[in-house]
């Protein structure tokens, strides 16, 4: 009798915990999916108004996000340089063109909610920082700048594409 009542209670506890867990997981499914993929949460993502500078990001982080395909790498240099040589998987968006494009066209090139890493020819080149600012003004919320750019990437021996290779 006593044993049965204990078994019953244990079963009830298991049932309550399971149901609560399922409801909780279902209720927060988008948040959990984002957390599982390692996306920054909404709070971290919402850049305060007026802060229009993209965040610098280091080589190792760029490599990790590149390999995990978490971020879109955007090449800020002109199209000829891009054709010659670029980080494998990057897309071309020369700064001058980005300045002329309307937001809708930018959104066609880069999906609105993507995480973006801009780069150009290394520390001496400001285009990637300027492109980052253009993209933030266009409404992109996670914009990072890989200041080491193509030279640092190439020197590290990471994958590169283009006809110059």
């Amino acid at each position: 009798m006593l044993k049965n009542s204990w078994l019953g209670t244990v079963a009830e506890i298991a049932l309550i915990v399971t149901i609560s867990a399922l409801v909780g997981i279902f209720w927060n499914r988008t948040l959990l999916a984002d957390a599982w993929r390692g996306k920054p949460t909404q709070q971290a993502e919402a850049a305060p108004q007026g802060e229009a500078l993209p965040m610098p990001i280091g080589l190792m982080q760029v490599k990790e996000m590149h390999d995990a395909k978490q971020a879109v790498l955007v090449d800020a240099r002109n199209l000829d340089s891009f054709a010659q040589e670029h980080i494998a998987g990057a897309i071309p968006l020369p700064l001058e063109e980005a300045r002329k494009h309307p937001v809708s066209l930018l959104n066609d090139i880069i999906p609105p909610d993507s995480m973006i890493i801009t780069y150009c020819n290394g520390f001496s080149c400001r285009d990637s920082m300027d492109l980052g600012e253009v993209l933030i003004k266009a409404g992109y919320r996670s914009v990072y700048v890989f200041e080491g750019g193509l030279p640092e990437w190439r020197d590290a021996g990471y994958p590169i594409a283009g006809v110059g290779r």
Binding site: T9, E12, I13, I16, I19, V23, L32, A35
Partner: protein, 172 residues
């Protein structure tokens, strides 16, 4: 009115309130846990931040805990208030309380200066010591609920007033 007369005969104010004590403790405890659950359900990201600040769970697990715990608190709170499956609900609440207290103690031991994240998220900071004292009270209340529940369910012979002989029952 009739109830009052009976209780007056029985003694002072405490005796009059005594029958309501188990229900009062049970409903209060349930209400506290529902009150704790709602802000966390409303803002799971903030609660996940509170969980993460304890630096106990890895990244994703903080979010999972933040997603599941408030609903567990809510369910148990509702069960206690409703008086349904009280033992199971109270045991879960006891386990949660012990887990919260362990987390708080570990935060104190490691010298983490964090908000407890027990109720309102991101409000004024509650020190781990205050939170620990509060959890002790909740744990005691849970103990009372379980004790009342066990007493209520015990076979009548052991706790109820002396068995009424059948002769005193009015015959049809």
């Amino acid at each position: 009115m009739a109830g009052r007369r009976v209780s007056d005969r029985g003694g002072g104010k405490m005796n009059r309130l005594r029958p309501y004590l188990p229900a009062a403790v049970r409903v209060s405890l349930g209400a506290i846990f529902i009150y704790a659950a709602l802000p966390k359900i409303a803002d799971p990201v903030a609660f996940a931040g509170s969980v993460a600040s304890y630096q106990i769970l890895p990244y994703f697990w903080s979010y999972l805990a933040a997603a599941v715990l408030p609903f567990l608190e809510l369910t148990c709170g509702l069960l206690l208030i409703r008086g349904y499956r009280v033992k199971a609900g109270a045991l879960i609440i006891a386990a949660l309380n012990v887990a919260f207290m362990a987390a708080l103690v570990s935060a104190i031991v490691r010298g983490l200066d964090i908000d407890c994240g027990c109720f309102q998220q991101g409000g004024s900071e509650t020190s781990p010591w205050v939170a620990l004292a509060r959890d002790t009270v909740f744990l005691a209340m849970t103990g009372m609920v379980l004790w009342f529940e066990a007493r209520r369910k015990r076979p009548p012979a052991s706790i109820s007033p002396p068995f009424t002989p059948p002769s005193s029952v009015p015959s049809k």
